[in-house]
Symmetry: D2
Subunit: 345 residues, 4 copies
Amino acid sequence: MEKVAIIGASGYTGIEIMRLVAMHPHVELVAVSSEQFAGKEVSEVFPFLAGKIRLVFQSLSQHTDLEKADYALVALPHQKAMEVVPGLLRKGVRVVDLSADFRFRTVAVYEQWYKAHTAPGLLADAVYGLSEVYRERIRGAALVANPGCYPTAALLPLIPVIKSGLVTTDGIVVDAKSGVSGAGRGAVLTSLFAEVNEGVKAYKVGTHQHTPEIEQELSFAAQKPVVISFTPHLIPMNRGILGTIYATLAGNATGEDVLQCYRGAYPENGFVRICPPGTVPATHQVRGSNFCDIGFVIDGRTNRLIIVSAIDNLLKGGAGQAVQNMNIMAGFPEDAGINQTPLFP
Amino acid sequence: MEKVAIIGASGYTGIEIMRLVAMHPHVELVAVSSEQFAGKEVSEVFPFLAGKIRLVFQSLSQHTDLEKADYALVALPHQKAMEVVPGLLRKGVRVVDLSADFRFRTVAVYEQWYKAHTAPGLLADAVYGLSEVYRERIRGAALVANPGCYPTAALLPLIPVIKSGLVTTDGIVVDAKSGVSGAGRGAVLTSLFAEVNEGVKAYKVGTHQHTPEIEQELSFAAQKPVVISFTPHLIPMNRGILGTIYATLAGNATGEDVLQCYRGAYPENGFVRICPPGTVPATHQVRGSNFCDIGFVIDGRTNRLIIVSAIDNLLKGGAGQAVQNMNIMAGFPEDAGINQTPLFP
Amino acid sequence: MEKVAIIGASGYTGIEIMRLVAMHPHVELVAVSSEQFAGKEVSEVFPFLAGKIRLVFQSLSQHTDLEKADYALVALPHQKAMEVVPGLLRKGVRVVDLSADFRFRTVAVYEQWYKAHTAPGLLADAVYGLSEVYRERIRGAALVANPGCYPTAALLPLIPVIKSGLVTTDGIVVDAKSGVSGAGRGAVLTSLFAEVNEGVKAYKVGTHQHTPEIEQELSFAAQKPVVISFTPHLIPMNRGILGTIYATLAGNATGEDVLQCYRGAYPENGFVRICPPGTVPATHQVRGSNFCDIGFVIDGRTNRLIIVSAIDNLLKGGAGQAVQNMNIMAGFPEDAGINQTPLFP
Amino acid sequence: MEKVAIIGASGYTGIEIMRLVAMHPHVELVAVSSEQFAGKEVSEVFPFLAGKIRLVFQSLSQHTDLEKADYALVALPHQKAMEVVPGLLRKGVRVVDLSADFRFRTVAVYEQWYKAHTAPGLLADAVYGLSEVYRERIRGAALVANPGCYPTAALLPLIPVIKSGLVTTDGIVVDAKSGVSGAGRGAVLTSLFAEVNEGVKAYKVGTHQHTPEIEQELSFAAQKPVVISFTPHLIPMNRGILGTIYATLAGNATGEDVLQCYRGAYPENGFVRICPPGTVPATHQVRGSNFCDIGFVIDGRTNRLIIVSAIDNLLKGGAGQAVQNMNIMAGFPEDAGINQTPLFP
């Protein structure tokens, strides 16, 4: 049994990590931090965890149990994570960080889209935690930078077809639809039920901070700069991201080529499931699970490959992939604690 | 007071026409048809209309009050409408037809995407009822083919910028998100609450029958063939369509050019509202109203114009625009019966 | 045209008053107050009102246009309203107040369930604005205390059967279900989409502040003290209240007695609609309208009358009834501005 | 590994059993029946199960793999179950039946509320599968009649306080709120998304067929006839039942008495969780889990005990309790396959 701490456990991502760790056969949860709820029992704040977790939230500053941890899953906001992670690493704790702070290969890109970076020295050794793509590097990493939810939904379907040259790298459009938990648990007007329910909207059009993260990894896959249009939308549902991706087919690429490409990239029995030819996934078929389902259609009229991907933003798009990365780091079965069947309906 | 009949009044679009006509100051509802509910009082089937409509549904075959009508709003499924409309026209009834049957300029396109046409002779004189674009022709028309919901959300924002050459006609993507009432009131598995709620999906990817309708009108605006990628999505909400549209800017077109283009095309106080610069609409701001709100962002990184449009699919995307067209035909104020303030929240 | 001011116009109730006044044929909106949005155009804050309202929010303290008003609709929180209303009355403005501050006949009850009262002298002349019950007194009132949403849903069905002695006054249970807009527009954790969606909960069990308001009016109707059990629930929907009410039948009361009682109390063509015998209403049949629909079932097994009532909490449960009261005060047709057909679906 | 068959696997309850069995460590799924989807792969019909279940649906009449099963979980509609269960028992298969067919102690009650019974001889030996109450009898049973969803939510909180005499048995009200999956997966108008969303309604007021089931068990607990008022409501959510229960306190019963009563009836670490004093549960805290959470409030003003219970209707209210019963029958740990942490949000 490895010992695990969750830093920032009272946001939706942190809560989800608690939920998953409570079902994990090979780890013991030893500490959970929350500034807002410090001193309160987990089950008092989150009655759904009654009988599952018997810990008290601790403030990060007074966190006495943190040193016991072998692994820390850090679910703090960006800018906060970079304050905490260096100290954890110095104590020998292996870290999966769910913020954006360690996802970029160059500090300049981070600082252009976010703010100033106070621990740029860690970027070189941090491993981008897209599990299926960087599994080997994750295995030995001290610091894994867990991908953003939208990048996960965009990169898992795009990287294989870009690497294999089946699509051109110009003119890619990623039109993504996310459930509201992606906006976090902050009490803000725009996340109120009556503001969100019975409606759909686009937000941060052309300016969302996940854009450079997607572009970084696509550029690396293509071995040349890739610029995309990315538009996120808010959907009246708790969980889920659907990515609708438009790319132009290269040369004479066929649907069979695309299918073989995906089957090669993502073997059966993993967390990436390829839909039967001609079908595309819906978010309900991955809800509550760590799956990323991918389907596609060849649109001969426009010579486009239209790919649809579906994830649960809190699982494969966040907490689930973080646990997956911890499993890889620890040598556990990759699906330990995250092999739940999706919840339908 | 003009006399109005609603043919096919028990689907969501027909119901919405009843709702609107009940608030219309210049028309009298004289007949409503429904095969399913023939012989029943409207208010028995639809308690929300108690006190508002005091008619009995009649079967179309035994419809004795139909001849009294000056205007018929026909909300039958496609293929059914073409059986009924010719007879109405022969009796001198002016028709707004909400099916796809009379929307196409050439019968070949209809028959490619739908089925065989039994009244192709009417196509030449039918007027495509996109009110703001074809207002003058609608005024004198005997038969108006009311646009589809998705085409309305796509064409109102695209036609002005295409006509004015601000965007290229290649590579346009229309990624649309619709509420579930757009799927109709048929008792089908895929429209069940528990199948739709807490999820989002794409459907008919690359094959939706509204594609040629959008392309027909864009091609007419561009004076050359335009082919687009159109992907509809189902959103867990009752009403609303959000269109997210990606087009490449032509030449040195600026945001100011686009804004002026829209302001020229859609004067203040009409049903098309242009959002303040830099903002895009959400469907909740048009819910329950006949507005089409349009906003846009210039994405300098990709040289794209990203337009977002929002309508209530049952109002401007269907029943509302049908009443608007009837108002134009009858010389009523264009907003008679459809000037409701949107319902928020 | 009478001149109307809305005090506290940026909460859900105030917004709804704006929405309704924008459709009202006999009044002109001259001023809207909001502390949060003072200085901003209404349509900038609420894009759904673009083209409908062209005013700027003013802070109450700097409200220069307030004196112009003939009627003020005050949608401030309780305790705030009592600070503002006396001044309005002194200026000769007739007031419909939507807070709880002037609903109680005795200050002691108010102070037991709320807080200290700073304007108790106004209670004697304030008229409880349950329109159908107190219409005559409302007509001449300077200050109308608009009922709470839950009390409206409970009192309209209960008062007639209590007055006529058809039910006993012991053991009444009011189990109510409300949409989330009833919780207001404050950015609080418990109103976040992901906290509310896909769930239902009871709250303030046995302690809700609308309890004494319901009991006051039932006791007045019964001419003896009535104590009830009232449990509110939060439902994942924007609008609507459903009241399920359990009362014991008195003597040999029959369903026909109850039906005649209701028909006598609520004539046709008013805002209270009695459902056909044996049927009960759903909230969707009143959504977006000022109707209160009432249906009932006689449960012979338990000798109970089970009544179900449905309102839109923002219309008949708040803003709509406030406008109705203003219409009564001003001698307008009682449904002016609030005669919309319900929005279905 | 025991072998399990699911009869009637394509309704929501049957689907949920498949989902749970796929996570069960001690059983192997050997056969799934569906008339509608016979011959199709499970994962083709339900893509969410891809990689989890690799079986083909078989028609019941041509079910060749059925005989292999040690346990059959039967999720057929009532009346259908009684045709199938006798044959299974004759083959030595132990059965958990989720229909109403074997829940009643006397055939007369069944036939009064349902229809004629064709296998009344099995009633005497069938065990009512309320796991926590009848655990000992379930252990040795050949046929367990799994309780209805509403009865589970009503009986678990009521039986202990009735058995211990803390409440009177007169005048009990059970006001229940259910998600839409409780209505089944049939394609019917009243279950369509746009009919249910943004609304709440009561149904089968005074006549719901779960009434006699609740009364039978309450009467048995009280050792005298108990008659209740039971009103079910439909809530716009997929899963969950909230029971709000009103009972009159007997004698001098206190909150502490009630708390001790519950703690005695339901030990820690079981599926029934007692909320901290003064708090009541919401359905979101049991979603996706087999928990039944119970909380209560003493309403001194009316001398009532108000209890609130929350279950996931598809888990503890159906499939989950069925698996729990199978675990008891087979001697597995009682939570095998159903120990998931609730899904929040």
